[in-house]
């Protein structure tokens, strides 16, 4: 298929979800991926389904997320995830065991209450528990937990399964996937875009750039200049143990997320920075981040101290300069769409659905105009400020 309706660039979770939603609408879709699908941020992320407000900051994160803004989208994402295994007709180890976000100080507890108020307005069920009430539900929580917000909708899906599941479903609906096919050029040909990979090419009226940390690079091939601020973050996983915990546990202070996955391993993350972002290979993990993340997780869940750390890895996070997601058509470049930014894992079904509607000329289920790529455009010819 050299003349599809849509060319999707990047086979991470956003590209895969978009391909699925478009194929489901009857579009002929080609997905181009520079390496193996799901190899980068989508395959290295924690797999958390964040339905209660994202209020934690990655250690080192300078700009806070506008947490309240994202809540309607998380509410929508929650509904999508509930149906996802049925819709994709496969097991993605989806679990909705609910999640705690814990506070250790009075100030943090106050933040929990503020957050709870936003959630109530957005229609997301949460409650603020005392430390003892939280420990009653999850006795593994330490005495240092002073309060915790509880959301029954928080959960987990296996990041190694969901993207392949989206891609498989899209292919069943006629989409084509070309792995190990790096895009080397994008040309305007009449009203269409001609997307090149070496001497191969695909021509389509619509291009979707879901290239994650490479969004800037891919857009530039089409003469579009989008600022991204990719970082590398790291994950830690313990050896397998029998089931002890079916909740997601987060901290409202600094980044921390802990859960036990279906295989039995405990996954510990929270966006701690890796030593170095390596866009050409694998990013290197940071030992101070490991020590910080594990110490913090062990303070809240002391049983972790009895386990062994099995692996660590780092992967890219396609953050934007304002830490908010980016989605929509690029102003002045009809047919060129971009989707990316933080919390893409949780929001992937929403973004796939949103792009499907936008490309079909329908309004999205929730307004996203303020999240469009226009705000990230810059003039590539202007002198760089110091």
């Amino acid at each position: 298929m050299t003349q599809p309706d849509v060319v999707v660039i990047g086979a991470g979770i956003l590209g895969a979800s978009t391909a699925f939603h478009l194929a489901e609408r009857g579009y002929r879709v080609v997905v181009l991926e520079r390496g193996a699908p799901n190899r980068e941020g989508s395959g290295t992320t924690a797999g958390n389904l964040h339905i209660q407000a994202i209020h934690t900051r990655r250690p080192g994160q300078e700009v806070p997320v506008d947490s309240a803004r994202l809540l309607p989208l998380q509410r929508r994402a929650s509904d999508h995830w509930s149906q996802i295994e049925e819709r994709l007709d496969t097991d993605v180890e989806l679990r909705r065991g609910g999640g705690f976000m814990v506070a250790e100080t009075a100030a943090q507890e106050e933040e929990l209450r503020e957050k709870h108020e936003w959630e109530r307005r957005a229609g997301i069920p949460t409650e603020v528990l005392t430390g003892d009430e939280a420990r009653k539900q999850l006795p593994l929580l330490s005495d240092r937990v002073r309060a915790a917000s509880w959301c029954p909708l928080d959960g987990y899906a296996n990041p190694l399964l969901i993207t392949p599941a989206y891609l498989a479903a899209a292919r069943r609906l006629g989409a084509e996937l070309h792995a190990f096919t790096p895009v080397t050029g994008i040309r305007r040909v009449g009203d269409d875009y001609k997307v090149l990979s070496g001497d191969r090419s695909w021509t389509a009226p619509v291009v979707v750039n879901t290239a994650g940390p490479w969004i800037t690079e891919i857009s530039a091939l089409a003469g579009i200049h989008i600022s991204m601020s990719p970082v590398a973050i790291q994950m830690h996983v313990t050896v397998r143990v029998p089931p002890v915990m079916h909740h997601l546990v987060q901290h409202i202070g600094e980044g921390m997320s802990v859960k036990q996955v279906s295989a039995g391993n405990l996954l510990i993350g929270g966006g701690w920075p890796a030593a170095e972002l390596d866009m050409a290979g694998r990013s290197t993990i940071s030992v101070p981040s490991m020590a910080g993340n594990l110490a913090q997780a062990g303070r809240i869940l002391p049983f972790l101290g009895d386990l062994r750390l099995l692996r660590m890895w780092a992967g890219p996070l396609a953050a934007t300069p304002d830490e908010m997601p980016v989605i929509g058509e690029v102003p002045g470049h009809r047919g060129f769409f971009v989707a990316g930014g933080t919390y893409a894992f949780t929001l992937a079904p929403v973004w796939g659905d949103t792009l499907g509607r936008q490309i079909a000329g329908e309004p999205p289920a929730d307004p996203v105009d303020d999240l469009g790529p226009g705000r990230l455009l810059y003039d590539a010819t202007a002198p760089v400020s110091p």
Partner: protein, 455 residues
């Protein structure tokens, strides 16, 4: 962070207290450098100079006294020997090493001016139907039981696989009263072609060693069946029988209570690979070896490798390589390096490398393509050869993608056991292997969790 890890420093860290690390540490310490020798196990000696427990030494005598003497010299030379210390990570070209006390989990960070990885090798296991049954073990494990504990691994044993190592193991088993039901060598190394014999004749000492073993076996009426292999092992709770295919293609069933099967050794290269040193495929085409110069210097400035970690060549090469690497480090770091004659060592290393290359030709590995689809390859996660082949056949998975799709290599052994097999079954042509990552061994989290900062 600082309060979590005990800091220490030395001119040189030698990782691995086997023959290579011991020889290197001795040369380095005598050359005037401060040397820390780290080993995961509680005693020095590595696999070859393994130490017997005190009571067993009293009862059965010292095991390989040359090792006892070497360890004594190393301690006398002032080497800081840290046994029971796992090196689980490294950065900064090996000038920072992360350690863990294997008993308490206490963490340490060591700063060095140079690091020598002398981390040795693993035994190579290859999957076949029944290989995960209790009673199916590696030859090295059987040897350990026989030599360290004087315990026979079984009463009627089948020994199989390929490689010169099968001979000393067979002799050690006989010594502890094992009846060897069959000694099955995949290749035909003991009636080699003239060209190969020519190479071997330049190594009379090694040939005499092999001849001695063969003589012992003959005296006990044990015949080496060449060109034969184990097809499958059977049993409910324990191996009770194996099928052996002879060189002529005939298959016979042999009753047994222990099957020892191994296909030589694989270099333990996690540390140098973790530090990003340049690698190349080893002669089997299934392992990535650090690229080194004649003295063991890698492409990472200040990082050296010696012993089997630099390519399987056995104990004699390990000692020579350790000394060569130590001299290279001395030339680099010692305040006033004494003039040293390394030409003889280098000659010896080259000769031993040639002998190792000869062994590679005599004992080639079987084709991985022969592993049946329903045979388990990753025993930690229970993944079969067929599942790995199927994931690879999608065309969009590289080795890492195949791992992600199947969980092969994600278990507690971190892919050490099955990584080379998964790569052979799933690789996309180019030499691939699972990336080396910290921690290179599962790391107790006690210390990281206790060493918490309070906000």
């Amino acid at each position: 962070m600082a309060d979590v890890m005990a800091e220490s420093e030395a001119d040189v860290a030698v990782v691995g207290g086997g023959p290579s690390g011991l020889h290197a540490a001795l040369v380095l310490a005598r050359g005037g450098l401060s040397v820390v020798l780290l080993d995961e196990s509680d005693t020095l000696g590595g696999q070859y100079y393994k130490r017997r427990a005190e009571q067993l030494t009293a009862a059965f005598g010292d095991f390989r006294p040359r090792g006892t003497e070497l360890i004594r010299q190393v301690r006398a030379a002032g080497v800081d020997c840290r046994t029971g210390t796992l090196v689980w990570g490294a950065e900064d070209a090996g000038r920072t090493l992360f350690t863990s006390d294997v008993h308490t989990g206490a963490l340490g960070r060591m700063s060095t001016r140079a690091t020598l990885a002398a981390t040795g090798a693993y035994e190579r296991s290859l999957p076949f139907p029944g290989w995960t049954l209790p009673g199916v073990v590696t030859p090295g494990f059987a040897l350990h039981l026989a030599t360290m504990d004087r315990v026979p691994v079984g009463s009627r044993v089948v020994l199989a696989g390929t490689g010169p190592f099968l001979l000393p193991v067979a002799c050690a088993l006989l010594e502890v009263g094992v009846r060897i039901e069959a000694l099955v060598e995949l290749n035909h190394p003991y009636r080699p072609s003239a060209s190969v014999v020519g190479g071997a004749l330049r190594q009379p000492a090694r040939l005499a060693e092999a001849a001695r073993y063969l003589l012992t076996l003959a005296r006990h009426g044990v015949r080496v069946e060449q060109g034969a292999r184990v097809l499958a092992a059977y049993g409910d709770t324990q191996v009770t029988a194996v099928d052996i295919a002879g060189a002529d293609g005939s298959v016979r069933r042999v009753e047994t209570d222990a099957l020892c099967v191994g296909f030589g050794f694989r270099p333990s290269t996690e540390l140098p690979r973790l530090l990003g040193c340049r690698t190349q495929a080893d002669p089997t085409g299934t392992e990535q070896l650090p690229v080194v110069d004649g003295d063991g210097a890698t492409s990472v400035d200040g990082l050296y490798v010696a012993g089997d970690c630099a390519g399987i060549a056995g104990v004699h090469a390990a000692g020579v390589r350790g000394q060569l690497a130590a001299h290279a480090i001395l030339r680099r770091l010692a305040p006033e390096p004494a003039p040293m004659r390394v030409a003889g060592l280098r000659r010896r290393a080259r000769a031993l490398n040639r002998f190792a290359a000869l062994a590679d030709r005599l004992y080639p590995l079987p084709a991985m393509a022969d592993i049946p689809d329903d045979t388990q390859v990753c025993r930690c996660e229970g993944v079969s050869a067929g599942q790995i082949r199927q994931a690879a056949a999608t065309g969009w998975n590289d080795l890492h993608g195949t791992k992600a799709a199947t969980r092969a290599g994600m278990g507690p052994c971190q892919g050490r056991e099955c990584g080379h097999i998964v790569a052979a079954l799933a690789g996309r042509g180019e030499a691939e292997s699972f990336a080396a990552r910290m921690p290179v061994r599962p790391l107790p989290m006690t210390a990281t969790v206790e060493g918490q900062e309070v906000p």
